[in-house]
Amino acid sequence: MECPEEIKKSITIALAGNPNVGKSVVFNQLTGLSQTIGNWPGKTVKKAEGKTYFHDYEFRIIDLPGIYNLSTYSLEEIIAREYVINEKPDYVINVIDANRFERNLFFTLQLLMLNCNVIICLNQFDLLKRRGYDIDVEKMSELLGVPVVPTIAIHNRGIHELLEEIIKMDKQEKEETDIARQNIHNFQFGKEIEEKVQAIERLLNKKKYINKINSPRFAAIKLLEGDEHCTKELFNKNDDSTPKSEEHILNEVEDARVKLEQMHGEQISSILNSELFQIADKIEKQTLILNKDQKGFKWVDLIDHITIHSFFGYILLALILLGVYTAVFEFGGWISGLVDGLFESWTPAALEFFGGEDTWTFKIFWSGLFGSFMGGVGGVLPFVIPFFLIIEILQDIGYLPRAAYLMDNFMHKLGIHGKSIIPILLGFGCNVPAMTASSIMETQKDKRRSILISSMIPCSAVSIIVMGLVAANHGIGLALLLYVVNFVMIIVIGRILTKIDTGDITELIIEIHDFRRPNLKVTLKQTWHRAKEFVIIALPLIILLGGGMEILLELGIVDPINAALSPIIVYFLGLPIGVGVYLFYGVLRKELNLVLLELYVASLGLQMVEYMSPIQMVVFSIITMLYVPCLATIITIGNEVGHKYATHLSLFQVVIALVIGGLLNWLYRLIEALNISFLITDIQMVIATFVIFFILIGIFLVLVERTKLVKKISEGRKYHLLPIGSENICVPEENKCATCPRHPAHRGNHHKKTANNR
């Protein structure tokens, strides 16, 4: 929508709603800005903003993180809540998935309590109708006291109506909307709860707190819920009021909470949320209409069943992974070959232009700058872009949560959360988006662990090296062994992680969506969005370094650096002396290791096989696989979890890489020295090295496993019933205490003792 010459008014709109309701699609359709959309709960963690112009109005649109609840469980929830309370957007568009009506309404009810101007965008209305349902939009609007607009965002239907509705609301008298807002508060809790809430509301109304909150009711409920964030907001910053009056309110709240919990035999958040869900349920019953029950066989159901099947689910997962990598490498290799051919066909013309092979201009500008540009375009992008496209499609159709469901247990064995399957899958393509994807973890600890593990996943650049060096010269078998070493190292580190860090990993809670057809336009947009970041970071670096490398060669600086590195490179790792400096380039972009080394070896007039022995290639590849993630990844890690952690992680990985590389080298030398009769060729000795290596790692792993630092949580608990208040409360037997019958509220020390004695 184009900017008209005169803008009457500027309006700020926030988009709020559950994850995966198509909020980002609505945002994209409204603003035309590309922004990440996916099927992953909580993916839009970063704030996205856009502008649009409509009927002389300027709309500033903010896409809030997708959340289920306005509590303070996660950072996303806090961000969204704070934004609505503090920034006070003119309107809030609440995007609702019509197919998960009740749970979405639960969120709407909370939003309405915040006293903001809400418009409901009832999205995915087509899917609802296809399922044989309908929603009485007018009735819903009447019950909630706010406008409701049915939309099909993915086909851009109903989007303009949303804006028209906002303009209509804006033109209305302010008083009218206020009356409408008053109606909203007719949703009442059950009698006892309502009394307590209103009592706290009155207390808040009396004080000057009223200025700080736009909704005393919301604040009262949150105080009752024991929401620390809200308590802090309200009381700690208030300099005027005396502490005594604060204490009075807090005591009152505490008292009400204890009474309610005793009465219901449940925790307060459960009581309050249960009430809200009952209201939502009531509204659903009054507005949702079942037209025709659609039963019978559906292909989607069968596919759905297979994707999470205990046996076929894993087969499918393996097939998908295999398919992705074959497709990516086949396609990438093909394009890569085309680009290489193009470069070579232009070289004679360039030779003529620069006036010969030995001129420094030819070396720096053609071989260095342009050569590395073509190397980046041909060697990296053809692999990365199709990979992103496929991951994007998997995300859009809703497959990834299913993978998390299948893999959760294995992920937990590695000390990471089930959701980490996403960064791990992404990591095979490029570690940079994998690090960004780690932000879906709920706690900082889970995030760090996820980053540690997924930064060790061999990315496509590493695969280029392993394939280009080891597989190209000595066959795919040896290359696969290298991958095995990589994965074994991930397992070892993951296991050690679970042993030294006794804290629990957050349990998996993830929504599994129905499959949906991806929208090609949106998917392509997202792929481009991801690839763009990559191009911006990677290509300029590659070009500059390629040029810089040629300049260094011209200046003759490489040899002193290599000499300084030789104790490690030559004696410890057993690599040729010339390799040293290229390992540094690999920090900047991993595939540069090989790209530049090949240029160097070619300039010596040698073939790669002549320059390096099989074991040297193996050690070189292992080092590249395991040592520091590339610079772009390190920067991303720094942004996600702090630069200190990024530095520690990098140093840690360098040490791991050197230890493993050195171990392999010395094992090989040992075998060579033993001169075993049946090990004749180099390759046989390399394989023997691996065998011994795996045995050693195996022994190490067993030792790690036997170190019992963490008490295992036993399964199969039996539950007892204990009377508490009027309700029966179930207690796991192992938590049961012989001395005190009323125990769930009580977790005294002697409980721990009894648990340990078991």
């Binding site: 749970r103 349990e507 998996l508 769930p744």
Partner: protein
């Protein structure tokens, strides 16, 4: 304490409940944060839940609750007590 023995036998936790079985949540036996999170997703006492599947190797469980599908970690599933229908 053991008077309602019949009830006791009927109760199962979500992890041990067989798949394709529905029931009503009796109690969520978890810490404050977990209860806050679960109740926000509609898992509160009195809610009807269907266990749809169970991932192998002691993996998570898949449930259907209030019209949406969720996967819950097994440790969490242990804490949700159900009275099967």
């Amino acid at each position: 304490m053991r008077s309602n023995k019949k009830d006791q036998n009927e109760l199962l936790n979500l992890a041990n409940m067989p798949p394709k079985v529905s029931g009503v949540v009796v109690q969520v036996n978890a810490g404050r944060r977990a209860v806050q999170r679960l109740s926000g997703l509609g898992i509160t006492p009195g809610t009807e839940i269907t266990k749809m599947s169970q991932a192998p190797f002691r993996g998570p469980v898949q449930i259907s609750v209030r019209g949406s599908r969720l996967a819950l970690g097994r440790g969490l599933a242990h804490k949700i007590i159900i009275r099967p229908n």
